[in-house]
Amino acid sequence: MKVTRETVTGWLQAAPLTVVLLGFLVAPIITIVIVSFWQATEFSIIPAFSLENYEFLFGSPVTYKVFAATFKYAFLTWAMTLAIGFTVAYYLAFHIRSQTMQIALFLLCTIPFWTSNIIRMISWIPFLGRNGIANQTLISWGVIDQPLEWLLYSDFSVILAFVHLYTLFMVVPIFNTMMRIDRNLIEAARDNGASGFQTLVHVIIPLTKPGIMIGTIFVLTLVMGDFITVRFMSGSQRANVGRLISNDIALLQYPSAAATAVVLLCTVLIVIGILLRFVNIRKEL
């Protein structure tokens, strides 16, 4: 290809991004991949090629179990965030008419994110605990007479926290796509006799797919890479891949962590690769 001034400008403008990505994305990944074939003692890494980490990883039933759990969390969180995120985005996009109001409500939703994740997670505990507000309220209402144990330190609380943390990542892209739907299409559907629900199913949802895809990508990757929410909210009783890695890291088992990381990375990339087939992110934004 001919190198024009335009390409050179393009390269120059893309250079900072490229440098950052090369230095802090590509290089670390390469390092991880290399290290995943090394071995470690208690305290240091031995640069010697070995498949031991992978052999162990694929040989251990825990790996499969943990990956299954990771997918389970990812899927359930995805389903919940999608349901909630879609509804909220739909409300903001189609029921709030003034743009100022839309922005104001949207900002309202972002404010909690200014408080540290960890603090927000910790604060669920007094709410959901055995003697927490939720249980006490339910008991005082007479809905239950025994505290619900599964409110905290369970899959329920893990997913609750995930949904809490990540729904906004679903709302934003869906809202963005919805705002780009021509309002005339909605009227056309009504004109053609579609009920509100039919309009939703036959027009809005198909046209919102790109936004849903992008939101899905966000949520899936965030959940699959998480290691702290699962620990906090399950009371360390459950594990996902992230925790496996972070445990290894904590114990300085970097090669083993790296091997797990490589497998996780491949999984995530495959999932995202599949999703990207259905949506052209650049065009749909």
Binding site: L107, W114, A258
Partner: protein, 278 residues
């Protein structure tokens, strides 16, 4: 006012519940931050006081909240500015067809989807292997950028997809150099979105835990500090901090909205013939 369909009210309730859900912890934190001096992190309240807000400005038994806050704030600003600058540049670059743009785009997406802990691990390993010193302002900063830049770039895509190229052509036509075009036309027009990118960059950085975990070096950023504090007796001071942060951001956003409103008012006073056939 138009009559609203029933679904509007149903959805309003759902939305309100969603906001309540989002704010649940924030509210819990808000209430608990007014614990009496005897109180702990959990209900019941043991008296009501401003004790923990007072404590927040005293030295803690362990750690250095304000130091960490300062660092996080600095880092947030640093990341914010870099994110804005780099994503605008990259956004501009991606509008042209340049060789390698495809690869760079997929790298950016990869950067977005790669689990944070891997970046943390990888960067830590590299610095370790190269014998470099990890520091929040170097390795920590870089690691956070791998998270904020993709977001920034995606927003820039959204912005430039809606950006009318003829503005730039008009500027070139008017004798503006490439740089002047960006400086005097493109940047002012996209400025409101840049505020969005900046806010995003700052928030993501300010709250980032996983990517900073192994890359922050000697000094903790705020999330790490808070996590570190949980190794000792944690007091409602963290809640007081959360409450202050929330109040502070509400204030900023409120000020922002009011400013926007005033600007709109001032402009409206000049009148408008838009839409009129004159």
């Amino acid at each position: 006012m138009e009559k609203r369909p029933r679904s509007f009210y149903v959805l309003t309730v759902i939305f309100a519940l969603f906001v309540l859900f989002l704010y649940g912890p924030t509210i819990t934190i808000g209430i608990l931050s007014f614990q009496g001096p005897e109180g702990g992190l959990t209900f019941p309240m043991r008296g009501v006081s401003l004790n923990w807000f007072h404590e927040l400005f005293q030295q803690q038994a362990v750690g250095d909240i304000w130091g960490a806050f300062r660092r996080s704030f600095m880092l947030g600003l640093l990341v914010m500015v870099t994110t804005v600058v780099v994503s605008v540049m990259a956004g501009l670059a991606f509008r042209k067809k340049f060789p390698g743009s495809g690869i760079l785009f997929y790298l950016t997406i990869a950067s977005l989807v790669i689990p944070s802990i891997l970046i943390s691990l990888g960067v830590g390993l590299i610095f370790n292997q190269l014998g470099l010193k990890v520091h929040w302002a170097t390795s920590g900063f870089g690691s956070q950028l791998t998270w904020t830049l993709p977001f920034g770039l995606l927003i820039m895509f959204a912005v430039f997809n809606r950006f009318d190229k003829s503005f730039e052509e008009a500027a070139r036509d008017q004798g503006a150099s490439a740089w002047q075009t960006i400086r005097f036309v493109v940047l002012p027009i996209i400025a409101p979105s840049l505020i969005g990118v900046a806010l995003f960059g700052f928030t993501l950085s300010y709250d980032e835990f996983a990517r900073t975990l192994l890359t922050a070096g000697s000094y903790n950023t705020l999330p790490l500090e808070i996590f570190g504090m949980t190794t000792n007796v944690t007091t409602p001071v963290v809640y007081a901090l959360g409450t202050l942060t929330t109040a502070f951001s509400l204030l900023i956003i409120g000020a922002f909205l009011i400013a926007a409103w005033i600007m709109a008012r001032r402009r409206a006073r000049l009148g408008s013939d838009a839409g009129k056939g004159v």
